[in-house]
């Protein structure tokens, strides 16, 4: 259902009369007063016009639409009439009318249908919260902090989930990908908040292409099953000439497994001028059965570029045939949504003190239970910045295990493997296993202290 604005009506819907008889095929309607067919703004009312408006048998009246009028007031003609609109068989069908028959603008079947159609097309979705199925669509959440250095043909999390903004991945391809990062921008020109996803300082040769990808899990995709949806976002680039963007929408072939996907449709190339914040819309998409999960990919045909920048923000996928204003949600909700897919201990930019407590569980094993802030999508994978254990206050990519009982930092002998067990969606133990042993005593309470760039990412991203 497509949204179409309703015509304004005349106050009290004053009627006038036909100044001559008309046949059932007439498309020019002579009336005594044209002013009654213009609204308060002087705009011609083209729908909801009824001939025989005062007929005692209301089913006898005929609804018409028009496209023009011979003037704005006084006697004249309504032109371009379509007769008998919204007729039900003979009820309301086009017929011949005598001179002097009443004609007026009314609340008709057609107007009622427009109201209903507009409600279906737009009203429920523009006003309802949580209509945007894209989490972190404006890139305010960036738990990992560190930007991803672009690697040709490799999406951000193809090898490590330590990098890039939450819930969104970037990739570059071309004859060569010589420079560039994918990360959070706080000075994005597109959109209102300044936050956005940014390909920064990109140098590509040959047919350089950038990709921005987001995946929606099955539990959230089900609401789009066999529905009409629309996608919108705001973009900006400084290539120096127009370049094409294309929006692809795909579905996972198995639940939450995107190793194989099927195309739903794509927007076709949309030209985006340089240095101009531009809104991209891909509306009225028949989603089909997408209940296994949805993938959205923005393809940016950058071409051969040197140190150029590309920003995307305010990504929104919603039910309905039109793109509505971006749903700006409180930050606490934005980060809560992201925590289902990634939970980060660090990097904090400074050395931490009393971090999660655990204990020396065995001779060679320190065990620290990690409780997630929400139920994660699946038991997560652990990614570490491969920090080095130290026995002094940690800095940079270092960590230490502090023994609260012995009041000192523990020393491993010698190498340490950091791992998790097969935990749950709410909990996992974090193990620091020394090749031989840790000093300290079994049962001692310990805590983990992190250096400024050290991080442990628990990821269940798609």
């Amino acid at each position: 259902m497509t949204y179409t604005p309703l015509p304004k009506l005349k106050k009290n819907s004053p009627g006038t009369t036909l100044t001559a008889g008309i046949a059932d095929t007439a498309t020019t309607i002579p009336v005594a007063e044209l002013a009654y067919f213009h609204d308060v703004d002087g705009t011609l009312i083209t729908a909801g016009i009824v001939i025989g408006a005062d007929n005692a048998n209301e089913t006898y009246a005929e609804e018409i639409t028009i496209t023009g009028a011979s003037g704005v007031s006084g006697a004249g003609t309504l032109t371009g009439a379509t007769r008998g609109v919204n007729a039900d068989g003979t009820i309301g069908a086009a017929r011949a009318w005598d001179s002097g028959t009443q004609i007026a603008v009314m609340i008709t079947t057609g107007i009622y249908g427009k109201i209903r159609g507009d409600l279906i097309a737009k009203a429920p979705y523009t006003s309802l919260p949580n209509r945007n199925a894209i989490i972190n669509g404006d890139c305010r959440v960036n738990q990992r902090v560190t930007a991803y250095t672009l690697v040709k043909d490799a999406y951000t999390w193809d090898s490590s989930d330590l990098y890039g903004p939450d819930r969104h991945e970037g990739m570059a391809t071309g004859t060569a990908v010589s420079a560039g990062t994918w990360g959070q921008s706080t000075t994005c020109i597109a959109g209102n908040s300044g936050y956005g996803f940014k390909f920064a300082g990109v140098t590509l040769t040959g047919t350089g292409i950038l990709y921005h990808r987001h995946r929606i899990e099955a539990k959230d995709a089900v609401r789009f099953k066999n529905q009409i949806a629309s996608f919108g976002c705001k973009v900006w680039h400084d290539v120096g000439s127009n370049i094409n963007y294309t929006i692809y929408i795909r579905k996972a072939n198995a639940a939450d497994n995107f190793s194989a996907v099927t195309a739903i449709s794509n927007s076709g190339a949309i030209s985006v001028p340089t240095a101009t914040a531009t809104t991209l819309k891909y509306e009225n998409v028949s989603m089909g059965d997408c209940s296994n999960g949805i993938e959205i990919e923005i393809k940016i045909e950058a071409g051969t570029v040197t140190l150029k920048n590309f920003c995307q923000t305010e990504l929104q996928l919603e039910l309905g045939s039109v793109v509505t204003e971006f749903e700006f949600i409180p930050y606490v909700q934005a980060i809560a949504g992201c925590l289902r897919y990634a939970y980060a201990l660090g990097p904090y930019g400074a050395v931490t003190n009393y971090h999660p407590y655990g204990l020396k569980a065995q001779t060679a094993t320190i065990e620290i239970p990690i409780l997630f802030r929400t139920r994660m999508r699946v038991p997560p994978t652990l990614f570490t910045s491969s920090p080095a254990p130290v026995t002094v206050n940690p800095s940079g990519n270092q960590y230490t295990i502090y023994d609260r009982v012995a009041a000192g930092r523990l020393t491993p002998t010698t190498t340490v493997t950091i791992s998790i067990a097969s935990g749950t969606q709410e909990f996992t133990p974090l193990f620091f296993v020394a090749s031989t042993s840790w000093d300290g005593s079994i049962g001692d309470g310990v805590f983990l202290q992190l250096g400024s760039t050290c991080s442990f990412i628990f990821s269940s991203e798609l």
Binding site: A154, Y155, D158, S159, S160, L162, D256, N257, F258, S259, Q362, T363, A364, T365, R377, V378, P379, P380, T381, L382, F383, T384, S385, S386, V405, T417, I418, S419, I420, A421, S422, G423, T428, S441, I442, G443, D444, S459, S460, E461, L462
Partner: protein, 84 residues
Amino acid sequence: MAFQPSDFKVMLDATGNIQCIQGPNGMSIPADPGNSRYQDFMAVDTDQHLCARVTIPEPVASTAPTQEERITAMEDAIIALTGV
């Protein structure tokens, strides 16, 4: 991203159950079919179990005194010194 069997190492407990899978770049992957990294692993491990299996040895009982033993020893020493 194309992974190789050598990218993964399957850590088994003493009973042969998978405790976790060590992946490239310090990944530690839980054995959960919904985890996308586990899906990557399964694609290269295949039914032939191409990735290496490592059994984690049973923990050796520690010879160091436990916290309780240390407290008891400390209490015994105090009694021996003070008589109370």
